[in-house]
């Protein structure tokens, strides 16, 4: 069977996808820069907020709790619409210094929404890791005369970061998938280009399938990076394989 025959069995217009592949690559760039800048700023914001949430601070704990509650309790799409369409309804915002460089741009609106959203999730995730710090480590730190700040810096945070890696890999993948919301506010991210292709040539699936494959490839890359991180930083936590007594072979002498 020739290649053309095989292609003719696939009910997709492959040539249209190929002809517009440079657009898809541009879409990949838009998706990646939005997702990863949001994740980066979101993670930076999440560190102090997680510390506040893990503490019993009378002022900061409830404030950060309220913030994470709102942003985790509402859909990302709604948050993005409120920022993109909602703010534009107010005359004073349209005439403020914020409008021209920031809020009039779809990219900035998406970045703000994504950052606030991922910061809320990362905060709660890191808070969980901080709270779960083994008591013994903290007690040992206290016993050796560490102040609260020194404990955080030397013991609690490094340990919490490591233990948060597996859960954070989920957050990264969720954020990547959540970034499709950008296509609803005119941005040409991966899904945006897919919808452009469908709209331009009145197709049903081609744009979506190409987009799905690209997202899948990116997720593969993210997953392998996190596997490497876990191997490197969580080695001390992996359960050691203890083979049954009968099968133990004597360790070679070193």
């Amino acid at each position: 069977m020739t290649m053309e025959q095989i292609l003719s069995y696939i009910p997709l217009d492959i040539s249209l996808i190929a002809a517009n592949f440079d657009r898809f690559l541009y879409g990949v760039w838009t998706t990646l820069n939005l997702t990863f800048i949001a994740l980066f700023i979101g993670a930076l914001l999440a560190i102090p907020m997680a510390i506040a949430r893990a503490s019993r601070h009378r002022f900061w704990n409830p404030i950060v709790w309220g913030y994470t509650y709102v942003f985790r309790g509402t859909p990302l799409l709604v948050q993005t619409y409120l920022i993109y369409y909602g703010f534009g309804q107010f005359e004073f915002i349209r005439h403020s210094w914020l409008w021209e460089p920031v809020l009039s741009s779809a990219w900035w609106c998406a970045l703000i929404a994504f950052t606030l959203n991922t910061a809320a999730y990362s905060t709660e995730l890191l808070r969980g890791a901080i709270i779960d710090t083994p008591k013994g480590e903290v007690e040992a730190a206290i016993a050796t005369g560490h102040s609260y700040k020194a404990r955080l810096r030397r013991i609690i945070l490094p340990s919490a970061f490591r233990r948060a890696i597996p859960a954070y890999s989920n957050e990264v993948i969720f954020m990547l998938h959540g970034s499709v919301v950008a296509s609803t506010i005119t941005l040409q991210d991966i899904l945006g280009v897919g919808r452009w292709l469908n709209g331009r040539y009145y197709l049903a699936y081609e744009g979506f399938i190409t987009a799905a494959l690209l997202y899948f490839l990116i997720v593969l890359c993210i997953a392998s990076v996190f596997r490497w991180l876990e191997r490197r930083y969580l080695r001390h936590l992996t359960r050691r394989e203890t083979p049954a007594t009968a099968e133990i072979t004597p360790e070679p002498t070193r």
Binding site: R195, G199, Y201
Partner: protein, 262 residues
């Protein structure tokens, strides 16, 4: 006893037969509901507009029971092909590219496309004038095809609905928009939001992108329905039903005419 069983069986049979005939009779029509004044929703959520009235008039003419199914614009053709409905009455232009996917009835109206921009825009509605500008169009509309063909130097910004295009034009996020001139007049330029805006340049007609008017889409090979629709369009044109619907929305005949308002 026996007789009663027989009766019950007959009744059940009649019911089945009846409901089968009923199911076959219901013609499902895809409409958009976000394209004023052709298709929009009243405050109470009911559908209204020129397309909606035409759809209902055609159903009455064909003596068929119809069900209107709402569908977002860029999924319209896929939904028709997936048999979510049997016909599309949603101001869809008859174009060559679409004809590769679906069949069309005869046209039921035809209006030209025009650009809209700020009154004192400071640029012309030409490919040179619009180079580097942001032009908003509805995704999957004929205007996407035309804008990308005619204004290669401009940034084409895509929206899910025409309403979003007008909203961002009013907010200043795009420099111009390209859409049906009638839509622009009725649902933007004549509203408070559109007070500072005006048409930019003249009519845009292009057979490749805009085709030969607006028709009713049916699945490929659904000739029986297509011919019934064609006959019904001719009939409502002749008996005055079309004119009556036309006059409730527009001050002139849109069947083949140009907008008189500008």
């Amino acid at each position: 006893m026996k007789r009663r069983t027989l009766f019950a069986t007959a009744a059940a049979f009649a019911l089945t037969l009846g409901s089968a005939a009923f199911a076959q009779d219901v013609l499902r029509i895809g409409v958009e509901g976000a394209y004023k004044p052709f298709s929009y929703k009243n405050a109470d959520g009911t559908l209204a507009g020129f397309d909606i009235d035409i759809a209902n008039a055609l159903c009455a003419q064909m003596q068929r029971k119809c069900e209107l199914v709402e569908q977002e614009w860029d999924g319209m053709i896929p939904a028709l092909k997936a048999k979510k409905f049997d016909a599309i009455v949603a101001s869809m232009s008859i174009t060559e590219e679409r004809k590769r996917q679906i069949d069309f009835s005869d046209k039921y109206y035809q209006t030209p496309a025009r650009l809209v921009a700020k009154k004192d825009a400071g640029f012309e509605g030409t490919p040179e004038g619009l180079a580097g500008k942001r032009i908003g169009v509805q995704r999957g509309a004929t205007h996407q095809c035309y804008a990308e063909k005619m204004f290669p130097g401009a940034e084409i910004v895509l929206y899910g609905t025409q309403e979003e295009v007008f909203r961002d034009l009013a907010l200043g996020r795009i420099d111009a928009e390209l859409s049906d001139s009638l839509i622009a007049q009725e649902s933007f330029l004549s509203t408070p939001d559109g007070a500072d805006y005006a048409f930019l340049g003249g009519d845009h007609l292009d057979v490749e992108c805009y085709g030969e008017g607006v028709g009713i889409a049916v699945r490929k090979g659904d000739t029986e329905l297509r011919e019934a629709l064609n006959a019904a369009i001719t009939a409502i044109r002749e008996d005055g039903t079309y004119a009556k619907i036309n006059d409730t929305y527009f001050p002139f005949d849109i069947y083949g005419a140009r907008p008189a308002s500008n």
